[in-house]
């Protein structure tokens, strides 16, 4: 099949779907193996980068989704009567940060880090579909585990969880070792 046709298929499918479409599904549709298809989509993304295009292809945890570019957001907003999206509160952001790095994580672990009961915030994050229940921990009581969703990646501009910036944990241990003796 002509490369142009494959690109056309991918674009058409992504447009019609609206939602993210997994590489597997795109591979079935185009009858192209995943590795090659990924290269093709990466190549498409580069051509989308041109300023003349208002759309871009986002990668989300091995799936692809068509969306508008950040820099054109202000023009789209002009179409609608301004209803500014309420951002997340500080406690919600902190809780989300903990879940993103420690997932799957229990409610108790979150509480230990923040020193505050996280129940209300967890409900809000679940409601916004930013986190989900990810099974149950093996410890006594089998507490629920929480993890982030694709919506989290989408809302905060990550491609996957591996995309999160590294937090320096080693730094802590070395510092503690150097604690001054009283």
């Amino acid at each position: 099949m002509d490369l142009k046709v494959i690109e056309g298929i991918v674009e058409a499918v992504l447009f019609a779907s609206g939602d993210s479409v997994s590489l597997e599904k795109l591979s079935v549709v185009t009858e192209i193996d995943k590795k090659t298809l990924k290269l093709i989509i990466d190549n498409m993304s580069i051509s989308y980068n041109k300023a003349s295009r208002g759309l871009m292809i986002r990668e989300l945890d091995g799936s692809y989704q068509l969306c508008t570019k950040k820099e054109y957001g202000q023009y789209i907003s002009m179409l609608y009567t301004s209803r500014k999206k309420q951002g997340l509160s500080q406690p919600a952001l902190e809780t989300l940060a903990i879940i993103a790095y420690k997932q799957p994580v229990t409610r108790a672990e979150i509480e230990k880090i923040r020193g505050v009961n996280p129940d209300g915030v967890l409900l809000k994050l679940l409601e916004k579909n930013l986190i989900m229940e990810a099974g149950r921990s093996d410890v006594p009581g089998k507490p629920k585990l929480y993890g982030t969703t694709e919506e989290f990646l989408r809302s905060f501009g990550f491609r996957s969880i591996k995309d999160l910036p590294m937090l320096e944990m080693n730094e802590i241990e070395s510092v503690v070792a150097e604690l001054p003796v009283d």
Binding site: F15, A16, S17, G18, D19, Q65, L66, C67, T68, K69, K70, Y72, G73, Q74, I76, S77, K85, G87, L88, Q90, P91, L93, E94, L96, A97, I98, A100, Y101, K112, I113, R114, G115, V116, N117, R154, S155, F156, G157, F158, P165, L167, E168, M169, E171, I172, V175, V176, E178, L179, P180, D182
Partner: protein
Amino acid sequence: MKSVLADGCILKLQNFEGPFDLLFYLIEKNKMEIYDIQINEITDQYMDYLFAMQELDLEIASEFLLVASTLLHIKSRLLLPKENEKQEEEMDPREQLILRLVEYRKFKEFAGSLKNREEEWVGVFYKLPEPVQLDEPEEVLLDLCPIKLKESYINVLSEFKEKMNDPSQKMNKIIEHEKVSLKAKMKDILNMLKIKAKVYFSEVFNLKANSRLEIATGFLGMLELVKLKKAYIEQENAFDEILIKTAGDFTLEFEEQNDYKEEVV
């Protein structure tokens, strides 16, 4: 105990999400290094806040008290002279506190970068999925023609003429209270059953010949007859016609039961 801070921190108090949040605020305010906290000073200031909260009658969450006790514990340990070196074996509570603070700070910082990213990506728009249902064939409307449409329109019109809002028929009589008795309706049914052993409910009562009230009362009368074992009813499916069958008994003894006589619906 009157706190010096009480006045200064009224507005700030509610803003602390938790004990660590407050600790951080104090550490930053005093320009201290997180790894080199002056426990004495921080503990005093922390306690001042709790006292201020108390003065303001704010409920102090238990988590604030927990950290307060940890701070006081550390402070007291620092004040006491060291007895022997054995103490080194147990974990330094200060170390634990610092570990927790450092970990909390790490997430607090990341939360800040999440906030920026949230703002950055809020202007990206997505499209709802197309409501495509390719595998479901559309319902084929067979046997339809304009004549049939006209016929059914006329049918509907004639059936519901009474219901329609026709002003020409309005106010040509004063509405009277319709007197329908249950007893009379039960008799109607029994009379029909005398002629025919089986009769459909719609043969006895229908919208063409009877008012709604009559039909409803007739329905109750039918149920009454069943209860008195003077008739049987059958209905195969929901909303099917109800078939009333005779039980061979056409008498109605109302004389003893006044409640039927009086009952005018």
